[in-house]
Symmetry: C2
Subunit: 277 residues, 2 copies
């Protein structure tokens, strides 16, 4: 039974194509390599009702974790915490720990002479207004804290949208929690390239190998079929309790594919191996 995660990225800039969603990509890769299973990634606008609906829908699917990005800042369009609170039917209130974190950051800005004095204006206090029962996660490089909420077996973690801040809070406060939840699971991936056989001719071979190797997920990524030399990437991934077992599983599938491709008159070329803890 794998540990499931949903990612929800909040920001109208994603829906109008202003911003390429590198946060989802970074999080998906990082969470997968920690041994957890990302089930769905949803992008939505800065809209309280939409955020509330998406949180409610995700909660119903009972993932172990929901991780959101974006919408924690001081402006009117930062609506994530209000949306989550509405979805969970909790009130929003000033969290003293969050307010202290924010005050500390502005004190630092005064020391650095970026501002004259610490004024906790309404937009700054807004960043400390969390759903009831939530805990703030320190933001080591920005102002808005991350937020953690436990709700009926799902841990909801809200991170900022600025990539450097999102990544910093994730590494410092979220990784330990995810590692503990994933237990001993490790993720292992490798690719081979198949040259000279079309994807449509490889398809039955992949089926056969997949059938013989239920622990290994195999996916083909085609170049253009009409290219002079069709070149196909086969990407093999597995999650196992230790690296030796993972490599055994993937290695067996690799050997089978290589033999079958050679029988079809094609060639395979090894690629880099990637492993993780």
């Amino acid at each position: 039974m794998s540990t499931s995660v949903e990612i929800i990225c909040i920001g109208t800039e994603l829906l109008i194509g202003k911003t390429l969603n590198t946060n989802a990509h970074w999080l998906a890769k990082r969470i997968t390599t920690l041994g957890l299973n990302v089930r769905r990634i949803t992008n939505t606008a800065d809209d309280i009702n939409e955020i509330s609906n998406i949180i409610q829908e995700a909660i119903q699917r009972k993932p172990h974790f929901i991780i959101t990005t974006g919408g924690l800042g001081p402006t009117f369009d930062d609506k994530t915490l209000e949306g989550i609170a509405k979805g969970l039917k909790r009130k929003i209130k000033i969290n003293d720990d969050a307010l202290k974190m924010i005050e500390k950051t502005y004190r630092k800005y005064v020391e650095e002479r970026l501002i004259d004095k610490v004024e906790l204006t309404p937009p700054r206090v807004k960043m400390a207004k969390l759903p009831e029962g939530a805990n703030p996660l320190p933001n080591p490089i920005g102002t808005a804290p991350g937020v953690l909420i436990e709700y009926e077996g799902t841990t909801i973690i809200a991170l900022p949208g600025v990539p450097s801040e999102m990544e910093a809070i994730f590494e410092e406060s979220v990784v330990p929690i995810l590692k503990k939840a994933a237990g001993d699971a490790i993720f292992f991936e490798t690719s081979i390239y198949i040259i000279g056989v079309m994807e449509s001719d490889i398809a039955p071979l992949i089926d056969q190998v997949r059938h013989n190797n239920p622990h290994v997920y195999i996916k083909s990524h085609p170049g253009r079929e009409g290219e002079k030399k069709p070149r196909l990437e086969l990407h093999l991934t597995t999650t196992a309790k230790d690296l030796k077992l993972a490599k055994n599983h993937v290695g067996k599938a690799l050997i089978e594919i290589t033999e079958l491709v050679q029988q079809k008159g094609g060639k395979t070329k090894a690629s880099k191996e990637v492993t993780t803890d």
Copy 2:
């Protein structure tokens, strides 16, 4: 009343962080500039039940269009059409027009001496198995056709995951349909940069301008607040029935912001303007 679109990107490679979702970004930008409104982007795995669920959920929100990417190819892990059929409770059957398109492509591959003869093997025929009532959209540069299905007021369009093929079918077959649906709506965007004022200090000014300019969507994108000179991008967008009106709306908001920022002691710097038809 704007024309609404949901994008659904299908591919386990997106959920494990192997692939950065440039398709969603490209589609969101292109659809927005055509004057339509992207409401949600969902990424899911190559899993028939998941695809079916996501299609059913999207249908219930009654968007004008659902556009999917990925999962149309010849291999076992290409499950989009089965997933859509299941979601719509329709049968999958060989579509004669789709089969002719596929046969024509393989005849071309024979002419180009990429393959010896046209064999319609099961994996190749698979690409012609569409939900009942669907129509294929020609793929000018690859093999798998796109697919169009009308369902209770929503037009579902399935495009391949290979970016060049997705873009080619979109430009050739989808743009005319979306343009017609959008009518005269045009999208206009511009940015200005604010230097020397923190986002938390700009927040109330943005609120004020937003309140005075309900047709204009204004969003701030911060650099790091703690930077030596805080630098904030304000991105202004609008959808209107013609370019003159759009520019009037955005221009009025721009002037108001500039004046308010100057009163706060900050500076603004103009950015490029982008317009579209």
